[in-house]
């Protein structure tokens, strides 16, 4: 029964390293080590981010659903985020602003720095500065907001009142629609994916 390795065990740290290597490898192979390609998603000249992002989330959602169905995997025994509406929304808005100014997100900045992008290294330094700022101003500025809007460990299917499988199906349809849409945009405006 999953998870295989005990939390905090040496084996689990080793697994983390190998899973990270696979993560970094696939990000780089997909072209996520360049901010100009990543930022393209916001300016309509490159849609690779949307395709990789939704394909991977949908693949994992389907896989975990089946593993759960066959009794190999239990959602109760793994990481599952508790939903806090307001901090997630405000935090997300701040991060979106960070994306169009910095051109990376934390994971992709590490991958880009690995290939020698100095701007990614600057971005990583910025993350540390931002967390220092947040942590030193946590009590006066952020604490109340961060604890607000708590909904619990709620899943999207429960929220809209459908079964887990139906929710995943809706997610698949949403993903397919977004792929169709960006391909339509690409075709209409004759946009080619960029190679930086």
């Amino acid at each position: 029964m999953a998870p295989i390795f005990e939390q905090g065990s040496e084996w689990n740290f080793l697994a983390a390293l190998f899973i990270g290597i696979a993560f970094g490898w696939v990000l780089e192979r997909a072209g996520f080590s360049t901010s100009r390609k990543l930022a393209g998603v916001f300016y309509g000249y490159d849609f690779v981010v949307i395709k990789v992002f939704f394909t991977s989330a949908i693949t994992a959602a389907i896989g975990l659903l089946f593993l759960n169905f066959f009794g190999i995997f239990d959602f109760e025994s793994v990481w599952m985020p508790t939903t806090y509406t307001w901090p997630t929304l405000v935090g997300g808005i701040i991060m979106g602003l960070g994306f169009v100014t910095g051109g990376f997100c934390p994971g992709t900045s590490v991958c880009a720095a690995a290939t020698g992008k100095l701007d990614a290294l600057a971005f990583m330094g910025g993350i540390v500065l931002g967390i220092f700022f947040y942590s030193f101003t946590y009590e006066p500025i952020w604490e109340t907001l961060r604890k607000s809007g708590k909904l619990g460990k709620v899943k999207i299917g429960e929220l809209i009142g459908v079964q887990e499988g139906v929710a995943v199906l809706l997610f698949i349809l949403f993903g397919l629609f977004s792929f169709w849409l960006v391909n339509k945009i690409k075709k209409t405006y004759n946009i080619k994916d960029v190679e930086y």
Binding site: I4, R36, F54, L89
Partner: protein
């Protein structure tokens, strides 16, 4: 003939592979993939080591200051080290390892670096408030079909599109 190994992978194939990596994280470790969490661990460790008394008196650092385990030895720290190694491996095979400041021809390297630091800082703040970044809160959250994951992705990308116009000169 064109060398295929130097080209970027088909995005759908990359997505399926990444999906299996996410599944592996949950299956083997019971964890989601992440990015910003490792940076948080670095900050927490630094503050707890440098100013243990201050740390113990704050709400943010309290748990790290009182923990018996080193706050640097976490799953996400090892995972992010892996990302670094994986990035180097892929970059090396594709001939993409090169020290440079990458930016649009319309801006200087200096401008690019300044805005990269600002963007990183915003991501640092936002990820702490939002309980994770694009990978941790968004991608992993969506993989387990959590409301939090979808909310996070909608907010990050929605905000990105909302503010994109103001920063267009940085990119196009």
């Amino acid at each position: 003939m064109e060398d295929k190994s130097k080209k970027y992978m088909n995005p759908y194939l990359a997505g399926v592979i990444l999906g299996f990596v996410i599944m592996a994280a949950f299956f083997f470790s019971g964890e989601g993939l992440g990015g910003s969490g490792a940076f948080k661990d670095i900050v927490k460790t630094t503050v707890v080591k440098v100013a243990p008394e201050y740390a113990a008196n704050t709400h943010y650092f309290k748990s790290a200051a009182e923990s018996e385990h080193s706050p640097i030895k976490t799953w996400l720290i090892f995972e992010v080290l892996g990302v670094l190694i994986g990035g180097v491996i892929s970059g090396a095979f594709a001939g993409r390892l090169k020290l440079k400041v990458e930016h649009s021809p319309n801006i200087t390297s200096k401008t690019r670096i300044i805005f990269a630091i600002i963007g990183g800082a915003l991501f640092g703040i936002g990820s702490q408030l939002g309980r994770g970044c694009t990978s941790g809160a968004g991608l992993s959250g969506m993989a387990v079909m959590s409301v939090s994951g979808f909310l996070s992705v909608a907010a990050i990308f929605g905000s990105g599109y909302l503010f994109a116009w103001f920063f267009r000169k940085l990119w196009i």
